[in-house]
Symmetry: C2
Subunit: 361 residues, 2 copies
């Protein structure tokens, strides 16, 4: 079978019509020596997809096919590729390039490279071509951002790990999550449920922190050791200065008393936010905000290739089962699925499948 | 000589008349088994003193003698005291009590004990007596917060180390300051100049970050390896992602582009604020604020007894010389000195001396 010259994807034309998907052909960037072409079989649906096409994160390049939780088959590998074999089942996440030469790149911090490019919506510097995501027939990616998928992992379970999973996994392992540690996960959504599953798999005692008790049964079913609802009176008091790490996956600080949340942390312990709110959402802090326990407040961006491989192996070894709802890819189902995601009507991740039916074998 | 029943201090009656000092007798808390009475010989003048008596930090208990950078002679020790000998030259800083029993206290984190009490302005739980600071003849303090002063340190140099010095030293040693590290000190005031001196003594490469070049010559004279003025165009660009640690001693975020400051930090490196602004001063942050380098933003409160002893020994061993202007204690000089401090007219710390002249031998 000849390699395809052009790929096909479900693109959106702009934020005014962000629920209307059009099946278009598009030109990928020129095939490079280190590139891998992946024939896509599944793609998770990430909150980023909605933020991007609905305009919540500001101006974007259209038409655009989003999707950055991709699993498929490597059908073509460049002449210098050593990490991936043709025919292998592989994944691609939210990042697709960095310089691989700077201090950050050489130190497993390629997500913090100043030249990093996203899997969709980024302009390739040499050609001006806009990168297109996994709501498509194929994706062309440098081998460094293509990850072999362990055979024990179902495709629809592996796909959402490549953004949501890695976003939760990286700050956990970088900040000491493990046996004997008490870890909090704020917000039980797509990323939060991976935070809970991975923190448990890493051996920590894990509490989910949510606005109400609505998701408590689900959290317990996923293995949570405890559940804290911030609508309860004095909810923080029994846990003051007892958490070693808190990963915040919530999408907004609206209505928060941040002092109560931070009071949960042990001395010098860390709060790591991984959600990326829209617009001007933020929170005012004073030096005094962090003074009671000398805690630290920060963010984390995805994770490295090394961490992606470790995470997939951990998921395979421990039999981690994310809660995934499979959806047939197509114009109508994309519209319905993204509107449901925007309304938080998902427990806990959508994954698009049935690619052969719309893009062929 | 009999022990004094009452102590004498220069007290302020309230924020409306905060520059008027009255020499009053006051009743210290009852002498406890672990207490040490210190006859004061010198006391540094801290920005906290102004914030407290001028009402900038909110309501206080008056009349009040402030001052928490105290050096003097231990003239009486309780029957259970083992850490301090009568006749020894000792110091007392900004904290004077904690439970010594909780997890924080048992882990060199007594400054984060939920029951900690300040050297001045705190209500002793048993008696309701308000603690009085070092603008006084004596101070009565639990031995854990009384520190022997190494003989090589002049009294007027040791005193300002007990708040300003320790406030800078603790976050440096807790966050890896040492050879091979690039450390930034934001603001060259009382605390900032100690930050520079200690970071250099610990072996780091140290940059001072200031609004203008006005203090560059002083910073270089104190040993700074570099100086960054935030009024220069693109001031951050040559240093993006190169700092391992930044200690922020500035008293306000007014007019700051916080993104430029944080851009200086290496991946996951820490920003630690130690100043405590008045009123509602603060800064709005978003998760995106910390995303470019995954940096962490926090505060630090003083330091532990162990760190105070280490800091004093380091200062003695390395011959560290803070820039101190000595001032005779007294009603008029206090008024003049605190007004100068409020106007930032000090390079870089005032220390009150001449106690015998006003309180007797």
């Amino acid at each position: 079978m000849p390699y395809p010259d052009k790929f096909t994807g479900f693109q959106v034309n702009g934020p005014e019509t962000w629920t209307e998907f059009h099946k278009n052909e598009f030109q990928p960037k020129p095939f490079g020596d280190y590139d891998v072409d992946v024939k896509i079989e599944a793609c998770g649906v990430c909150g980023s997809d909605v933020h991007t096409i609905s305009g919540g994160w500001g101006e974007q390049h259209f038409p655009l096919a989003v999707g950055h939780e991709i699993v498929g088959t490597a059908i073509r590998v460049g002449p210098k590729v050593t990490l991936i074999k043709e025919g292998e089942r592989v994944g691609v996440g939210a990042q697709s390039w960095s310089c691989l030469d700077c201090r950050q790149c050489k130190n497993d911090n390629e997500t913090y490279c100043r030249q990093q490019l996203d899997t969709y919506g980024a302009k390739w510097p040499d050609t001006g071509i806009i990168s297109q995501g996994g709501y498509s027939s194929h994706v062309r990616t440098h081998e460094h951002w293509v990850f072999p998928i362990p055979s024990a992992l179902p495709t629809a379970h592996a796909a959402p790990m490549l953004c949501a999973g890695l976003t939760a996994y990286s700050p956990l392992v970088r900040n000491g999550c493990g046996p004997g540690k008490k870890v909090g996960i704020v917000g039980l959504g797509g990323i939060g449920h991976f935070g809970l599953l991975f923190a448990k798999a890493l051996g920590a005692t894990v509490y989910v922190i949510s606005r109400t008790h609505a998701k408590e049964a689900d959290a317990r079913a996923m293995g949570a050791d405890g559940f804290i609802a911030t609508s309860d009176e004095n909810w923080n008091e029994p846990h003051v200065m007892t958490f070693d790490l808190i990963i915040n996956t919530a999408n907004s600080f609206e209505g928060w008393d941040i002092n109560k949340y931070l009071s949960l942390l042990d001395v010098h312990a860390k709060w790591v936010s991984v959600g990326l709110p829209e617009g001007e959402d933020g929170i005012k802090v004073r030096n005094q905000t962090f003074l009671g326990n000398g805690c630290f407040f920060g963010s984390s961006h995805l994770g490295s290739r090394r961490e992606a491989l470790e995470m997939l192996q951990l998921a395979a070894d421990k039999g981690i089962k994310p809660w995934v709802e499979e959806v047939q890819i197509g114009e109508e189902s994309l519209k319905k699925t993204l509107l449901r995601l925007e309304g938080n009507d998902v427990r806990y991740r959508f994954c698009l499948t049935g690619y052969e039916e719309v893009f062929g074998k």
